[in-house]
Every structure is written in C-alpha cells, then in structure tokens.
Symmetry: C2
Subunit: 220 residues, 2 copies
C-alpha cells in the first residue's frame, strides 16, 4: 500500500536537522503504533500545558481520552500531540555531537470532541485495543453513565511531522576521530514483563491469552 | 535530608485524581533523575508546540538544551516541561477503569537563557552527566564556537507538580469483581543494552567503564 506523503505546512516543515525529518506517512503510523502514551500540549490562559495521556488511532484520526473534568481536553482549540520513543544515547567523541537516537511524531490541529455515543464507543475501542490488543472484547464495555463521564477527542492526522535519528555518532570522519576516544551508541530497550495478577483476584482466574502472550515482547 | 514540599499554586494544584498527586520534592527529583528526555511545551503564535529534548538538573533548576536556531528555546517565555515514565498497563475488569501506571513530573515557569560561558559549561556538564554519568570528563569539551552555537535554558524547579500511579486496578472491590474476569497489571521495563561501537572506530578502542557498566541495568 502506498500512502500519501505528509504535507509540508508552516507547522510541519523541518526547519532544523532536516536529515532527521521524514514526510513518510508510514513512518508516522509506525511511530504511533509502537506506543500508547503521548504528550498533549494545549494553551491555557496563554500558557502551555503538556499532559501525558493515552491514545489510539485509525487511518484518519488520533483518539485521545480523559476525564470530562480535564482542562486539557476541551476540544476546538489548537493542540500539539507528540509521541516520542527513545532508542538510545549517541555517545560521540565531542560533547557537542552527543545526542539521542529516537523516533518522534508531532501532530498539529484542533481536536474535536466526539459526542455521538456510537462514534465514542468506536473511538474508545480503538484506544483500548491500541494499548492492549484484544482487551476491548474481553473487559466489560462502558455503561451509558461511564461513557458520559469520558471525554474523547479526535485529532486529524493530516498535519503531522516525523523525526527519526538512528545509527552511530556523526563525528567519526572529523578531526575528533583522531582523539582515540571510544564512540558509539548505548541502546535502550523496553520489554513487557510478566502479568501481575490483582492480589484480590481468586487464584484460579487464568491470565487471558492476549495478555499472557505479550510477556517478553518488545515495546516501542 | 528533608526537602521543602512543592508549593501548591494555580498551576500545580491537583484538580483531578488527587490521590495520584504528590507534593513531595523527593518524588520530583526521583522522576527527573530516572530519565533524560522531557517534553518541552511552548506557545508559538498562540499555538502549542511540544518538543522532546534532553535535560539535566541541579537542586534549583532544570537545564534544557538545543540549537540556537530552535523555535522552542527562546527563553523568557512561559514553558511547561513534562517528564513521564510509563511503568505498565492497568488492566481492570471494566474498560472504564483501565489506565496506566506511571510517574510524571510537570514544571512550569519562564526559562531563562544561560549566557555566561562558565555557567553554560557547568549547565551542559549537568546535562551530559545526567544522561551518561562520567561522560563529561571523558569526551572532548565544547569549544568556544560550539558553546556559542548551543542554547542552554535554565528553568526553576520551584513550580512543579508530580503524579504517580502504581499498583493493581481499582475495581477489585466493586460489583465488576464478580464478573470472573482476570485483572491486573502488565509491567513495562526499560533496560540499557550492550554498547554498540561506532563501526569506523579502530577495533582496539575499549568501551569506557562508565559506559560498559550500564549494560543490563534498568532505565527509568
């Protein structure tokens, strides 16, 4: 499948480190699918507020959720959602060339509040199954009251930018290469652990297969 | 050592999920020390921008750095810096009670640009040794030109808030406990991998001890 490239706009144009920028929508989708926690930025009374929150997506939109009481989930205001995976440290010969290997996606837009109950359920399903595939059909679905107490925002994936840095430090071909110092990267890996059963649960309740099979698999 | 509690202000007061809020400055420091990448939020022409960047700290201030060309590092404007560690998924009986175990710190203020060369060097040292303890004295220090090309911001740690969630789901004592569903948490662990030597490096260059010893240790 070929995806349309990400459009270059005033907000998504890569001003700096252009070699780390990507306009490939498949890169965007891969970064979003690798994680489930984003940092949502909004402006409250002229000041920035950056809140970690969970997300899911379909092909067109990102879904964000939280309490209806949350200040950061009001809808109809400009937001910036950033998802970052840290892959390791870039340890160069010089302090100046030090950096981080990472994959990061940034999405700009005005999120809309999802109010239609059917659409809200569908969005929450995306969100739940994004973090834990298979969990929506396993757990008890939201009641009408719970649904009303949940804010779901949808944010178009149209205006987005991606930055990726990987590989060794950049000063291997410069004068510092003669310093005789070690240089390279120190990778960081995240792994799902063994499920921890709620201590109040009766002992015979089995860990469902869709959760048990994640143990030991890599995250992000 | 006893630390003063974090002050409750309009920005740091925990409006929601108050049981997850902490005013303990030791919690703030522990969260900051466990990571090295934050999400920096600024307001650019009325819109939020959330940028991942590295940081270090001392007892009073957080240090953030980037290129002088970066839009997000202008200094003298309100910023919000958020550091989040995701510890795992909270898998409850009901979708509504699902959540994330995490530790998150949020710092508000107006960052100041560090211009004094000595203070800048000291701040960059904090930053470098925060991500890789011991690396400042191992790698080549910044030249005057490199120092001039680096923006360092300092942000007071005075106005900050902390949220922590840990432990099993909250619906073990409600009516959903009778559904017979498994519930618990799925922990996420990040670990430093084996150092990857820059392929252009002569083979005899040893991995320095301060880097080699991190392999297999836990991150965040």
């Amino acid at each position: 499948m070929t995806l349309d490239p990400l459009p270059e706009t005033d907000l998504t144009r890569h001003r700096r480190l252009r070699d780390q920028g990507s306009l490939d929508r498949a890169d965007l989708n891969a970064i979003l699918d690798a994680g489930f926690v984003c940092h949502l930025g909004v402006v409250i009374e002229g000041r920035p507020l950056v809140v970690p929150t969970v997300y899911g997506r379909d092909d067109q939109e990102l879904y964000l959720h939280g309490s209806v009481a949350s200040r950061s989930l009001s809808g109809g205001v400009p937001v910036c959602v950033t998802v970052t995976h840290v892959d390791g440290l870039v340890l160069a010969r010089s302090v100046f060339e030090h950096g981080v290997n990472y994959r990061s996606a940034m999405i700009h837009g005005e999120a809309r509040k999802v109010t239609d109950p059917e659409e809200k359920l569908a969005g929450l399903r995306r969100l739940t199954d994004h973090a834990t595939p298979g969990q929506w059909s396993y757990a008890r679905s939201p009641s009408r009251k719970e649904l009303a107490a949940t804010t779901l925002l949808a944010l178009s994936l149209e205006e987005a930018s991606v930055k990726i840095r990987s590989g060794p430090p950049d000063d291997g071909d410069g004068p510092d290469a003669g310093l005789g110092l070690w240089a390279g990267t120190l990778p960081l890996t995240s792994v799902w652990g063994a499920p921890v059963t709620d201590p109040v649960l009766p002992g015979e309740t089995p860990v469902p297969e869709h959760i048990a099979r994640r143990e030991g698999t890599r995250y992000a």
